[in-house]
Amino acid sequence: MSHLKQILERGEFAVTAECGPPKGADPEVVLKKGELLRDKVDAVNVTDNQTAIVRMSSLAACSLLERAGLDPVLQMVVRDRNRIALQSDILGASAIGIRNLLCLSGDHQSFGNQPQTVGVFDLDSIQFLQAVRMMRDEGTIIGGDELSAPPDLFIGAAANPFADPLEFRVTRLAKKIKAGADFIQTQCIYNLDRFESWISMAMERGLPEKVYILSGVTPLKSPGMARYMKTRVSGMDIPDEIIERMEGVPKDKQREEGIRICVETILRLKEMPGVKGVHIMAIEWEDAVGEIVERAGLLPRPGI
């Protein structure tokens, strides 16, 4: 059974972290990242050809982590697979012991290193969620055919409280819950005020009672990274105060400042009603996760 699910069901504040597979076939890279995260987080979320750059498959990397005794979250995007491949990979994932799935649309192919490919987008992420829930709960695939055994999965979806239009963001969250999301992972949070207004709009519709919301955070490495994310990554909201804080410290203290902002953010999120956990996306900086978790007072992680 999903470790993450058990933590959340017991009412513990959950901690997950992201792990990007390598641009190569070396299993050690994945296992090393897994070791950095062991006992620091409840589950490890493995990206699926993130930013449309070809990497080791998420499914394979999840399998490596699962064999190493971690609880992986399989990310799957609808950009690269039609409904045959999606449903088939889900059965395979469950068969090899993967218990968490995050259903995403995926970054557009024009951003990556295969810009001449075609995006599949047979299903969208909400239709995909619905298909997975039907597979698990009804034992049927799209079109109604029955499965010989249903997959056993804890199902997640993403939400971006910072994209437009704000009011519709909550409608979309409701749709994802209706489609079958058990948990929600949000975009990185730097603008806590806007996040709070999103959460309170969601509370008005009673949504946080129906789904576990994991709030996303990413430690900044430098003011350059903050500026890049603000201007180049669509739907990323980084207030100027954050950038100024990063600029206000000497170069050799910038990473420390990034960690400090991240820890402060987590401490505020922990107190926010409706937030059930935190998802740390330390991009190619997995060794920062342990420190962040420790300083946010989230260690030791509860066992099951």
Partner: protein, 222 residues
Amino acid sequence: MITAEQKPIDEIRGMIAPYKRILVLGCASCVAECAAGGEKETAMLGSALRMAARMEKQEVEIEEKTLDRQCVNEFIVLLDDIIDKYDAILSLGCGAGVQAVADMFPETPVIPALNTEFLGETKSQGLWVENCLGCGDCMLYYFGGVCPLARCSKQLFNGPCGGSVNGKCEINPDLDCAWQLIIDRLSAFGALDRLEEIYPPKDWSKKQGGGPRKIVREDQQR
């Protein structure tokens, strides 16, 4: 209408190089509207090719003709009497036009001079935009008259994605986010609640999924 753009002249010259007597064949319908293959563009391409041939002292005969529609047999048969004069046709029709002409004259090579692009709208002088993918099962009612297939970069039926900001699409700030348009339009006539429902997976068999499509209308057949 079908939109198209002319191929680079060097690519065209490469394809017609083996032939000596060429008919440059325009079409006065869609591709005329998008200024790619109408009478005017056909004349211009013909003279450009003649000039280029002269400069390189090549002996080629290039003549032009424009049909009212290149994708309808009634018009293509007008070539019956003259086709023997040519050893190739350079077509400025859309992909359907090129193939319709080729079908009628199996022994004559028919070469495309255009890149056929999309089903579009003339937005303003010199601006054409794609807004239909011909999916075979029009959903515009649900989406307030804005097509999420043709106009959302990720073809989302339950959008918008997390990259929609200030009404623009994440993949290109020059592009309107189709989902912002859908939401705006549905709100304008009080039908936003249509989006509370999950739009189910699309039946792509009505698009190319079921192999090449055709429409058979017995009432129209003689």
